[in-house]
């Protein structure tokens, strides 16, 4: 039925080609933005039902998340773990896998870094910090890589496996920091022994934001280059687009799945490393603060494009940074931010069904009338 080679009118062909290119690219920007707006709209209704003002809510979010240099620093400090957590979702997603258990890799990565940091206490930072980061990557990579292995070797659903493994990871961390790895001095909040000052990751010069932000942005750029610019990434995109086609082409689907899930887990592990080495100073239950789950929303909003993850993560970090102020000023409970994230996520999932269906983004279906 669509067997009509469209030849554009002779005049204006370059303009048309340019429009076509813009339209094709616009889909991945316009639809998530529309979904975000739809999520905000539903959330606004939710606020109105409680007699709260949506305008006040959003202006407070702006003020507390992006209004001042101080609020920007607060937002950017929270951005680093979100960047890594979103990569843990986005990389497997390019292979068609929905991995939602990045929280587990964050927790165990942080624990590994914290525990190793304690035993490395006198070692020079230039040796100890890379080793701690590496340990976090390896543990996170093995954790999520095992999800990929279960998927490829045994056909175990990766979404459920990764979620259940996240609960196991959190329980394991609680067990270890309350038991064998506990610093006897940590009374109210069981933790590993505090890291030596030399083994703490500091702030970037002139900023009140730790190095994790730069590392996270570098991670996004690297992941983008891997997916978009290398043959490995192209092979992964083929496997994600149609695994049967990839197999017929003889592509190593199993190795791609293992590699991409492990790499995603390694990034999530790094988030744990920075939380421990730059923020908390020791591994404890604060590692399981939900960054892994917010990362899912970020990756989906960014259409699993690592470059798009950067602005989306900053936006979501701003919402998280503002939640304290919103709570106090508007007398809204802590969970309000989660409600907002939930509405946005449902809107995003609905918008996923629209890709490829809207004629305006598909130049080949523009009629030449």
């Amino acid at each position: 039925m669509t067997d009509h080679g469209i030849s554009g009118p002779a005049t204006g062909a370059p303009l048309r080609a340019m429009l076509a290119r813009v339209a094709r690219r616009a889909e991945a920007v316009v639809l998530p933005l529309a979904a975000l707006m739809a999520g905000f709209a539903v959330f606004s209704l939710f606020l109105l039902m409680q007699g709260k003002s949506p305008a006040e809510f959003f202006s407070l979010v702006y003020k507390a998340g992006f209004g001042t240099a101080f609020s920007w620093q607060n937002t950017l400090s929270r951005t680093a773990p979100l960047l890594f957590a979103a990569l843990c979702v986005a990389l497997p997603a390019r292979l068609g896998l929905v991995v939602i258990g990045g929280e587990g890799a964050i927790v165990l990565g942080g624990l590994a870094a914290g525990a190793l940091g304690v035993s490395l206490a006198g070692a020079p930072a230039a040796v100890a910090l890379p080793l701690m980061a590496l340990a976090a990557c390896v543990v996170g990579g093995l954790w999520i890589g095992s999800v990929g292995a279960l998927r490829y070797l045994r056909g175990v659903n990766e979404t459920i496996a990764s979620l259940l493994l996240a609960y196991i990871a959190i329980a394991l961390m609680n067990h270890l920091v309350e038991g064998p790895l506990r610093d006897p001095a940590s009374l109210n909040k069981p933790s590993t022994a505090p890291l030596a000052d030399a083994l703490r990751v500091g702030d970037m010069p002139g900023w009140d934001v730790h190095w994790g932000l730069l590392a996270g942005i570098a991670g996004c750029v690297l992941a983008w280059a891997l997916i978009d610019r290398t043959t490995w990434g192209f092979a992964a995109r083929i496997a994600g687009g149609n695994v049967r086609a990839a197999q017929v082409q003889g592509l190593p689907v199993g190795r791609l799945i293992l590699g991409f899930t492990a790499l995603g887990g390694a990034f999530a592990g790094l988030a744990g490393f920075f939380e421990v080495a730059a923020v908390h100073g020791s591994a404890n239950a604060s590692l399981a603060s939900g960054y892994g789950y917010t990362g899912i929303l970020i990756a989906f909003l960014a259409r699993h494009n690592p470059l798009a993850i950067i602005p989306v993560a900053i936006l979501l970090a701003g919402f998280e940074a503002s939640s304290g102020l919103v709570q106090r000023r508007m007398d809204l409970p802590d969970a309000t931010t989660l409600v907002l994230q939930g509405f946005v996520f449902v809107a995003i999932l609905i918008s996923e069904t629209l890709y490829g269906r809207l004629r305006i983004f598909a130049p080949e279906r523009w009629s030449t009338r």
């Binding site: 009509h4 043959t231 086609a245 490829g356």
Partner: protein, 507 residues
């Protein structure tokens, strides 16, 4: 069973039926009269508008213009339910029965007025009475899963009669049947027409069925009614001429050269089938350079599994694959080194990533090649340039190289895949149903390319459910049934009746 339904065949007539999808006219002023009790065939290429016409008649589509008369009265069909109420019914190409239920259960639950609580004793009695009035029967108490394809198709037709339909549309009803089964089913349908119980409109591609069973024929081309009449007055070449119009048909490509050394061999191969319950057992299969070995068989007899074995998607439990004398595991490096290429069936679903662009899909085979070595960094520019060359060489009609390949028509998707797989040296070519669902001109072009690959020295293994295709292309013909090769003959010595018996496992 509601015995008070009006019975007997009714006539249906379309008047100036037109259907537009945006700027595209799928059906253009089609008026066809189907007399009560007649067996009417609807011929046409893929995309000629046959499906659109019957979907308008059944209420799946709302015609842009035109009307329909049922039993001489103007009828409005806003949805399929309205069509059913008028006594119109449709039998689809693929079965719509619930495999785990018995035939009796399938019949009863198909009734729109099936009660919440079913009195099976009464239903069984009613079904027995109904079956007594039918010229053919099927076992009522076995799960449908256990029925042969021909039995299932008979049950589909019985279901329509049970539901009181008096005008039946059959959409390629024999495409999943052996020739013998097809003849039997259509013979029964013909008898029902002659008895005045139903009128039939059958969509088909097979001239033989038209001549053997239909009274009248209508031919569509590009949405227009271009001919038709009494079947007795028309020869196969008349019908083919109407279907094709003035489109040039490529002559079957000549066969040149002789078969050389063996290039592909399967020995004592054993694997599980898709259900995991039965096994695939191929003791010896050999393809030589410069020959086409056709594997005929009814779908679901292990062809899909054989394709998966050869592409490395299904592990062998025993036995081995050899390509040019060396063991072969279908890795990318081996396939490249030994020049093995694949054309799986339904290329969009098995050989393409539908949402990736035309250029990217064409690049699947060569994206990691840089001259004779491999590359790490992707070159989008080279991929596009190469795709542009191949699109031109293989006449792929695509709005843009950046369009998702899913936006192309079936014929153009297959052309794009052929462009990817048939470029460069090809020593072994494994093909499954290459022309399924394509129009006649694309079919002849694609078959010519397969023949050209053979003439250039490739050993070709061709699996197809289309016996005509097997007979047209093959040098040797094998028949696959129940996961085994059950018959071998040369193309010259083969005869469809014998092949059909082997396909059905009756020989």
């Amino acid at each position: 069973m509601t015995p008070d339904l009006p019975q007997g065949a009714i006539g249906v007539e379309t008047l100036h039926m037109t259907m537009r999808f945006g700027a595209f006219t799928a059906l253009d002023d089609v008026s066809i009269r189907i007399a009560p009790g007649s067996f009417h065939a609807l011929l046409g290429e893929n995309g000629a508008g046959k499906s659109t016409l019957v979907k308008c008649m059944m209420g799946f589509y709302h015609a842009t213009a035109g009307e329909m008369l049922v039993a001489g009265r103007e009828a409005r069909v806003p949805d399929p339910r309205a069509a059913h109420a008028l006594g119109l019914g449709m039998v689809y190409q693929h079965f719509t029965l619930v495999p785990s239920l018995t035939a009796a259960e399938n019949l009863v639950i198909s009734r729109p007025d099936a009660p919440r609580v079913i009195d099976w004793r009464a239903e069984r009695a009613a079904l027995a009475a109904f079956m007594d009035r039918m010229p053919f029967r099927v076992p009522l108490d076995q799960p449908v899963r256990a029925l042969a394809a021909g039995e299932k198709q008979k049950l589909e037709i019985l279901k329509q009669l049970y539901l009181g339909r008096r005008f039946l549309i059959l959409d390629e009803p024999t495409s999943v049947l052996t020739p013998d089964e097809a003849d039997e089913v259509l013979g029964h349908v013909r008898a029902l027409c002659e008895a005045g119980q139903i009128t039939v409109l059958m969509i088909t591609h097979k001239f033989r069925e038209v001549t053997a069973f239909a009274d009248e024929v209508s031919v569509l081309r590009r949405g227009r009614l271009v001919g038709g009449g009494r079947v007795a007055d028309l020869s196969h070449s008349d019908m083919a001429a109407m279907m094709m119009g003035d489109a040039a048909i490529a002559e079957p490509a000549p066969r040149t050269g002789r078969a050389g050394a063996p290039v592909l061999a399967l020995r004592a191969a054993r694997a599980r089938d898709r259900s995991g319950l039965k096994d695939i057992a191929i003791d010896a299969l050999q393809v030589r350079a410069g020959e086409i070995v056709g594997i005929a068989g009814i779908s679901g007899n292990g062809q899909m599994e054989l394709m998966e074995i050869l592409t490395g998607q299904r592990p062998l439990e025993a036995g081995e694959i050899e390509v040019k004398g060396a063991p072969y595991t279908a890795s990318r490096a081996e396939a490249r080194l030994r020049a093995v290429r694949y054309l799986p069936e339904e290329p969009l679903h098995n050989a393409c990533a539908p949402r990736m662009s035309v250029a990217e899909n064409i690049g699947f085979r060569s994206f990691d090649l840089n001259g004779s070595g491999t590359r790490f960094w992707l070159s989008g520019r080279e991929m596009r340039a190469r795709a542009a060359d191949l699109v031109a060489a293989f006449k792929v009609k695509a709005a843009s190289l950046d369009a998702p390949i899913a936006a192309l028509s079936g014929g153009n998707v297959q052309r794009a895949v052929l462009a990817r797989e048939l470029t460069g040296d090809v020593d072994v070519l494994v093909i499954s149903n290459p022309c399924f669902g394509l129009d006649v001109s694309a079919v002849s072009e694609i078959r010519a390319r397969i023949m050209a690959a053979r003439n250039a020295g490739a050993g070709v293994l061709l699996m197809s459910e289309d016996l005509d295709e097997i007979l047209e292309l093959s040098d040797r013909v094998l028949v696959m049934s129940e996961g085994r090769i059950v018959h071998e003959t040369t193309a010259a010595a083969s005869d469809p009746a014998t092949l059909g018996q082997h396909m059905g496992g009756h020989a």
